[in-house]
Every structure is written in structure tokens, then in C-alpha cells.
């Protein structure tokens, strides 16, 4: 059971006001699931939205508890047909269900920002309001959506993600080996360190950097994705998407493809095996999962863009990445590297641009409600150092669904203004 944090320290932190153009956060925690199972956020999250091993298995399993979902449901779905209708198929519609209540949750940021170079200080509150949708439509059909209703003074910026997932296809023969996702989603190449799972406000550089304006690893894309856990220690992802990121309609018929393989040693299985199977879900100390996870991915894409003279041009590009995650006791060590090649990123003389980005991050759970993070990351373009960034972060959970964050953003590679920003953030979800 989490204890309430005395407000004094938190108020002091929150009043340290700083200015920065806040980057939009993407949400993965969803109180609709907390309502469905009458359980705390901490069942699936180390600190919202960062998932623990059980939460990751829950997501992979199509937002169903791996060890018998029906056992734990407290909010009865509305049946669209009794189970026995399956015996009447194909002369009847296969039975399904919808959530008992409309599966909506809210995710709200209040932020105070200080921009070092300009000395600007700003209350950015509220910074963002997101509406989250997520639940299942009967067994092995799940959905998830994220709609930004307000962001930095702009109402209704729009839909970020929405997809339906058909999980565990041909389950009796294939188990959890094949699931299909359709819609708009964050490509699964970064499953080792999903942007929606991160604890920091700043995005890891491997997910965030651009060589071309049309591609960034973390951008949600529209398409289809096959994924699965054929063995409890192995996962794969195969995707086919429009490309061109989230905000641009596909201007050509070229599609991007990607693939990922992940291997986990130790800890809970990727399919949730080895997890809790008791009467009730476990909500405490779920951040311990002594394990090592390695992932490898490749992304091949084609972007059609226009240059400053409004001339359309093509850029064929690829990214190859490796990520590693080590969880030992209260500590997480994460690392990732991505190598990229863009054949024609700007329709200028700058062709065949090579890029390398990598990061190393250490998270430590000092107490279940105090988490410290430090991340070091670098970007090189054509072999030359382009950017070095350091992100220290302190996260405090006042409640399982109320999180305070203090975070700095430093760029030691700059000759001046190495200190860029300081942010104090309050996030609450309901």
C-alpha cells in the first residue's frame, strides 16, 4: 500500500518554475483497466506509464491478464451472445462482448518550465489533456486509443493512436504465437523501450531524432502488425505501415516494413508465465523482475517529401537497432543504439547520410514511490558528433495515479547554454 507523500517538498519543487516548449507525452497507462479489474495502477506499472513485467505481458496478450483473464474481471462486460453460440457457428454469429462501462480515462499534465538559454519561466498548466480508450471486446480482441484533447493552448490536436488487436490467433494450436494489430500505433520495433513506457518527459534520442522530417522511430503509423510470443522467452514483430509518420496522409503507394526479434532471459516470461495466478492480482513491489532482455530490429522505409522549391523527391532510408534491458532488484539498466542510412534526406547534395544514436539509462526504485533516473545519449551524423544530452529525473508518486516529476535537460556538447531546461510536472490519471 503506497503511503501519501507530505506535500511540502513537492510544493517547493512545483514552484521552481521553468520555461520550455514541452514535448507531448504519450500515454500507455489506462485507468479503464484499473476499473475493469478493480486493481491499482501498480499492478501493471512501476510508475505510470512505465510498465512492469506483468504489465508488458498484459499488453502483449491484447490487454488481457495472461493467466485467465475472466477470473479477475470485476466489471462485467455486456454479452453479445452466450458462449454456446460458438457451437452454432457458422449458422450463427460468433459471440462477443463489449465493456460494461464506456472504457474512457483521462491523462492530465500540469507543468512548470524554465528555459535556460532564454531565462523564460512559464506555468504551462494544464499542459496536456489526453483521453485514453482501452478494453476488450470479448476474448482475444482488444483495443487501445489515445486522443489528445488539449496540448499547450491548442484544443483538440487530435488522434494519436487507435488500433484493434486480435490476439492469440489459432490459440489451441499456436498458443500466443500470432496476434494481429490493425490501426494506428507506435511501431513495435522499439518494444524494448517503448516511448509510451518511458519514465522521463524527454524522449530517448534513439526514438526521437530525425534525419528526414518524414520519419521518427516513435511516431505512430497506420498499418498492420503481426506479433507474438512463440516461446515464453522470445517475441517477434513484423509490420507493414504507410510510412510518413502520423500527421501526413500517405502521398505514395510505397509502404514501410519493419521486423523485430526480442529475447528475454530470466524473470517473468514474455507471455506472462511465472506471473501471479492467485485469488487476487498482486499490486505491490512489482518492479522487481531480475532479467535481461535483448532486442534487434530493422526498419525499411520510403518517404516522399517536397523540398524548399516545392519539388517532390524520394528518400529511401533504413534503421537498424539493438536494445538491451537489465533488471536486477530495484535497478533498471537500459541501453539502445540505432544506425540509420538515408539515401536522399533533403534533395540536396547531402546524400547517403549515415546516423548513429545511442543512449544508456539507469533507473532506480529507491522506494516504491521514489524513482531516480539518469540518461546519457548521443547522436552522430556522418561520423561527426552532433548532439550529446543528459537527462536526470526524479519521479515521486503521491498516489498510484498521481505523479510528480522533476527533470533537467542538459546538452554538454554545446559551447554555450549547456543547461537547457528544467521542468516540474504533475501528472494525474483517472
Amino acid at each position: 500500500m503506497l503511503r501519501a507523500v507530505k506535500p511540502t517538498l513537492l510544493v517547493v519543487g512545483a514552484l521552481t518554475t521553468i520555461l520550455l516548449d514541452g514535448l507531448a507525452r504519450e500515454a500507455a497507462a489506462i485507468p479503464a483497466f484499473a476499473r475493469k479489474y478493480r486493481t491499482s495502477c501498480t499492478t501493471c506499472h512501476v510508475a505510470i506509464p512505465k510498465r512492469n513485467a506483468f504489465g508488458e505481458a498484459f499488453r502483449r496478450n491484447g490487454y488481457q491478464i495472461p493467466a485467465g483473464d475472466e477470473r479477475y474481471i470485476k466489471e462485467e462486460p455486456v454479452s453479445l451472445g452466450a458462449e454456446a453460440w460458438k457451437e452454432m457457428w457458422p449458422d450463427a454469429i460468433w459471440p462477443g462482448a463489449i465493456p460494461g462501462t464506456f472504457p474512457l480515462a483521462a491523462y492530465v499534465h500540469q507543468r512548470f518550465v524554465f528555459d535556460g538559454p532564454t531565462d523564460d519561466k512559464e506555468f504551462d498548466a494544464p499542459h496536456e489533456l489526453e483521453l485514453l480508450f482501452g478494453n476488450t471486446l470479448g476474448r482475444n480482441v482488444g483495443f487501445f486509443g489515445e486522443w489528445v484533447a488539449y496540448e499547450k493552448g491548442v484544443n483538440a490536436p487530435g488522434l494519436k493512436r487507435f488500433f484493434i488487436q486480435f490476439s492469440n490467433l489459432f490459440e489451441k494450436r499456436l498458443g500466443k504465437a500470432v496476434s494481429l494489430r490493425v490501426g494506428r500505433f507506435e511501431p513495435g520495433i522499439a518494444d524494448g523501450y517503448k516511448d509510451a513506457d518511458r519514465i522521463t518527459m524527454e524522449h530517448p534520442i534513439t526514438l526521437d531524432y530525425r534525419v528526414t522530417s518524414a520519419f521518427r522511430v516513435r511516431d505512430a503509423q497506420s498499418g498492420v502488425e503481426l506479433a507474438g510470443v512463440p516461446h515464453r522467452r522470445f517475441e517477434y514483430v513484423l509490420g507493414l505501415v504507410n510510412g510518413q509518420g502520423v500527421s501526413v496522409n500517405d502521398p505514395d503507394n510505397d509502404k514501410d516494413v519493419y521486423a523485430r526479434a526480442g529475447f528475454k532471459f530470466g524473470g517473468m516470461g514474455l507471455d506472462g508465465s511465472g506471473g501471479p495466478e492467485g485469488e487476487e492480482l498482486v499490486i505491490a513491489n512489482n518492479y522487481v523482475d531480475n532479467s535481461v532482455m535483448l532486442g534487434f530490429y530493422g526498419y525499411w522505409g520510403v518517404a516522399t517529401q517536397t523540398d524548399s522549391n516545392r519539388v517532390a523527391f524520394r528518400n529511401e532510408f533504413r534503421r537498424f537497432g539493438v536494445d538491451a534491458r537489465v533488471n536486477f532488484g530495484r535497478n533498471y539498466l537500459l541501453a539502445g543504439v540505432v544506425r540509420g542510412r538515408d539515401d536522399n534526406p533533403s534533395n540536396t547534395s547531402a546524400r547517403d547520410v549515415d546516423s548513429t544514436a545511442w543512449f544508456v539509462e539507469m533507473d532506480r526504485v529507491f522506494k516504491p514511490w521514489i524513482i531516480g533516473v539518469v540518461r546519457y545519449e548521443r547522436l552522430e551524423i556522418d561520423g561527426k558528433p552532433d548532439l550529446t544530452q543528459v537527462v536526470p529525473n526524479l519521479t515521486l508518486l503521491a498516489r498510484a495515479n498521481i505523479r510528480f516529476t522533476l527533470e533537467a535537460f542538459l546538452q554538454p556538447s554545446l559551447d554555450e547554454d549547456k543547461f537547457r531546461t528544467f521542468k516540474a510536472n504533475v501528472l494525474f490519471v483517472f
Partner: protein, 197 residues
């Protein structure tokens, strides 16, 4: 809420030969049994037939729900299907059931009956209300019981002998287990964890 008719327990008591009867206890360990109980029963005993009860057990329809959700009966039992609702219902069994029937639509207060002559689980559906569901589990001996939320069961009044003990559940299954009953004693059966059907 699920109820199961006590016809089996009563029949077992009548069939038992007084103080020589034994008891079978055990547990089926699976999380889904907390949601839907299982019906545990002694499989057919070669050379022995048991007469069905003269009184008809009832499956009622009230507030768009079958009551009970699971009814266990001995082979040959006639079950009355009563409509206590204010709307019409149309009970029928799935075509994969051992007894296939369709009672047609009928109104409040009407009772229609079906005799279950073949062993196995009969899935009941309503053509008007797709979410309604129930089962009639037809067994061949009067020795049966329903599990509690922990998966535990007790079957009393079982004559001494060697039997096969089986169970039916709507989502999980496992192979029957052998059991030897001695007079005046309790035989314990523990199933390996069943798998989802």
C-alpha cells in the same frame, strides 16, 4: 448465482446401502472454477442403471436469465422449462448437444418439457435473447456434486467399489480419474490442473 439441483444428492442417499456408503472428496484447481463451478460425477457403472426421479426438476427463465445456470440430472429425467418472465423466450439446444430440441417461442406462465435420454452436456440458448445461457448436464449415476469457489466438492452416499470420476465445466476439461470407495471412509481425488477447452 448458480444453483444446482440436489436431485443427485438425494438419489445417492436413497441408493446407498446405509452405513456402508462412502464419500468422495476432492478439488479441481483452476482459477475459472471461481467464476463457473464444475459438475463432478461418477461415470456409468457397468451393469447398473438408475431410475430417473418422478418429480421433474425445473429450469426457469426470469429477468432474462436461466435459473439455474447449470442443472445436473440423471439420464432419462424430464426437465420442465418454465417461463416466469414477462416476455417470450425460445429455448433451444445447440446442434452439438447430445439432445437436440427447440421448444419454440412461448409466453409467461407456460411450461414445456424435455426428456434427456443421452448422457453429456446440453447447451441451452434462447433465440430471442442471445446472452442467455444455461446447461443441462446429463449423467448416468446419482453420484454427483457441484464444486465451490475453491473447486472443492463432496459426493456422499457412494457404495463401495472402483469407479471413474469425471467432471464437466463450460470452459476447462481434464481426463477422468480413478477412485476406490470403501464403506464408511472418505476417498480423496485430486485432479491435475485442467486445460482450457
Amino acid at each position: 448465482m448458480t444453483r444446482i439441483l440436489a436431485a443427485g444428492a438425494l438419489a445417492a442417499l436413497l441408493a446407498a446401502t446405509g452405513p456402508e456408503a462412502g464419500t468422495i472428496q476432492g478439488r479441481i484447481s483452476h482459477p475459472l472454477l471461481a467464476r463457473w463451478p464444475a459438475t463432478v460425477f461418477v461415470e456409468k457403472i457397468p451393469g447398473r442403471d438408475f431410475a430417473p426421479p418422478a418429480e421433474h426438476p425445473v429450469v426457469d427463465q426470469k429477468d432474462l436469465v436461466f435459473i439455474p445456470h447449470v442443472l445436473a440430472v440423471i439420464k432419462g429425467t424430464t426437465v420442465d422449462f418454465r417461463n416466469s418472465d414477462s416476455v417470450k423466450h425460445n429455448i433451444f439446444s445447440s446442434r452439438k448437444s447430445p439432445t437436440v430440441f427447440n421448444l419454440g417461442a412461448y409466453s409467461s406462465g407456460v411450461v414445456r418439457s424435455v426428456t434427456f435420454d443421452k448422457p453429456g452436456a446440453v447447451s441451452l440458448l434462447c433465440n430471442v435473447h442471445a446472452e442467455m445461457s444455461a446447461y443441462v448436464v446429463v449423467v448416468e449415476t446419482p453420484y454427483f456434486a457441484q464444486t465451490d469457489r475453491e473447486g472443492r466438492f463432496t459426493i456422499g452416499g457412494v457404495p463401495p467399489g472402483s469407479y471413474r470420476l469425471a467432471f464437466w465445466h463450460e470452459t476447462v476439461a481434464s481426463d477422468p480419474q480413478p477412485v476406490v470407495v470403501e464403506g464408511g471412509k472418505v476417498a480423496t481425488v485430486a485432479w491435475p490442473q485442467p486445460k482450457r477447452k
